[in-house]
């Protein structure tokens, strides 16, 4: 399969890239790793007049913790993140999620920024970043701004990014002491998108009760789905199986997956319930509860 014709641009800097995006408007798309965009163009599910390849712009691939924030460059390839010693530990949820994305060969090209900015509700990192309370840095012609992960997704393949903006960095606040997180994903085989998946990040107080929590689901609606009601149910309570079951049931009710070859709506909802339960259990265990 061959994509419809387009022109290709390889800017050397972010300024040059955003200027190209502004100039070409709706006819342009950012090419990062290309692991979502190129299949889409090949299948001709979409067409584009100008591809702006940000893959050669220096300084977009990094993972560092400084000033109470984990900073991940938008151009960081998932294989690089997977090999980073910084993930795991406090960021166990990332250690869970990254190896479940696509397959190892795809992860050599696929980038964190691409996975997040593509706006596909089937992608894994959006729910994880929402659970972690991350913010995304968007860089456009007029400068930079920050957008909270849970305000970023507007609709199916639609995000808060303006036409000339590029997601250049993810900022994850370092979790407080006694925090834990987990990502559980059900998929039919390596490389598949989630039939259902749940991200949980929580913090326990001095008495072992849940101080705060965030829950988000992958592939459970047109956007990654943050479950604020279910998370609120956890706040202030001592974690136990009854609580996990109640929260997971509410999460399943709120989820609105579509039926496809991965299963029926009922099946996917029930799998969301099971995975939220498991993620809660694991998150509390990792938080030291």
């Amino acid at each position: 399969m061959i994509p419809a014709a387009f022109d290709y641009h390889r800017p050397a800097s972010l300024d040059e890239a955003t200027a190209l995006l502004a100039r070409f408007g709706d006819g342009a798309k950012v090419l990062s790793g290309g692991m979502s965009l190129l299949p889409l163009l090949k299948l001709r599910l979409g067409a584009v007049e100008h591809l702006v390849d940000i893959g050669r712009i220096a300084g977009l691939e990094y993972i560092k913790e400084e000033g109470g924030v984990l900073r991940i460059g938008g151009g960081t390839r998932q294989a690089t993140l997977d090999r980073s010693e910084l993930i795991g530990g406090k960021y166990a949820i990332l250690r869970d999620a990254v190896p479940l994305i696509a397959d190892p060969v795809v992860r050599n090209r696929a980038t964190v920024g691409g996975n997040l900015a593509n706006g596909d509700p089937a992608n894994d990192l959006p729910a994880v970043m929402i659970a972690l309370g991350a913010t995304f840095v968007a860089r456009g012609c007029k400068g930079e701004r920050s957008i909270a992960a849970n305000q970023f997704y507007k609709g199916l393949f639609s995000t808060a990014l303006a036409q000339d903006e590029i997601l250049t960095e993810v900022r994850v606040p370092v979790p407080a002491g006694r925090s834990g997180g987990a990502y559980f994903k059900l998929k039919r085989k390596v490389g598949d998108f989630a039939s259902a998946a749940a991200a949980v990040q929580l913090t326990l107080d001095a008495k072992g009760a849940i101080e705060n929590a965030a829950i988000a689901l992958t592939n459970a609606g047109p956007t990654p789905l943050e479950l604020t009601d279910a998370a609120r149910l956890l706040a202030g309570k001592a974690p136990d199986e009854k609580l996990f079951a109640d929260v997971a049931r509410l999460a399943a009710e709120k989820s609105s997956p579509s039926a496809d070859r991965r299963g029926s709506v009922e099946y996917k909802r029930d799998m969301a319930r099971v995975l939220v339960t498991r993620a809660l259990r694991k998150a509390v265990e990792r938080a030291g509860g």
Binding site: M1, I2, P3, A4, A5, F6, D7, Y8, R10, G34, M35, L38, P39, L41, K42, L43, L51, D53, G55, A79, P99, A102, D103, P104, V105, V106, N108, R109, V190, G191
Partner: protein, 156 residues
């Protein structure tokens, strides 16, 4: 739409060509350079038959543009044999019957080579994880794992 002049080092030899923006790396390799050892399988970045090494890392060349490889090093299955001698991974696939129909083999070999260049002594699980983006419909993977283990021993 505009064409681009690219230069790519393939198996150690510099090659230059004028390509269309939309030309895929796998078509550049097979049709422009006439290196047909790299196969096109699913053509949707699932099966890994088209896997080549781009700057030493396995990538699915059906989902990379030729222009993205400009200025880079590409290794294909044709580059494995040196001076008439099979690469240890190729020898392993022969000795341990790591293939039947052979369609997935070029990609499987390249992924395995990259694994062994990164990790000289992978355990079975690491081998299985490394090749999990390469599909084989014949062997059930058992003999492929044995072939990679054979090569690992030979390369140490």
């Amino acid at each position: 739409m505009a064409n681009h002049n690219i230069s790519v080092t393939i198996n150690g030899a510099a090659r230059a060509a004028e390509v269309e923006s939309r030309l895929l790396l796998v078509h550049f390799i097979r049709e422009t350079l006439r290196l047909t050892g790299t196969h096109i399988g699913c053509d949707t970045s699932h099966c890994g038959a088209c896997t080549v090494l781009l700057d030493g890392e396995p990538v699915k060349s059906c989902t990379v543009l030729a222009v993205q490889a400009d200025g880079r090093q590409v290794r294909t299955v044709e580059g494995l044999e040196q001076g008439g001698k099979l690469h240890p991974v190729q020898e392993g696939f022969t000795e341990k019957h790591g293939l039947q129909c052979g369609f997935c083999t070029p990609g499987m070999l390249m992924t395995s080579v990259a694994l062994l260049e990164r990790n000289k002594n992978p355990n079975e699980q690491q081998i299985r994880e490394a090749i999990s983006g390469n599909l084989c419909r014949c062997t059930g993977y058992v003999n492929i794992v044995k072939a990679v283990q054979y090569a690992a021993e030979k390369m140490r």
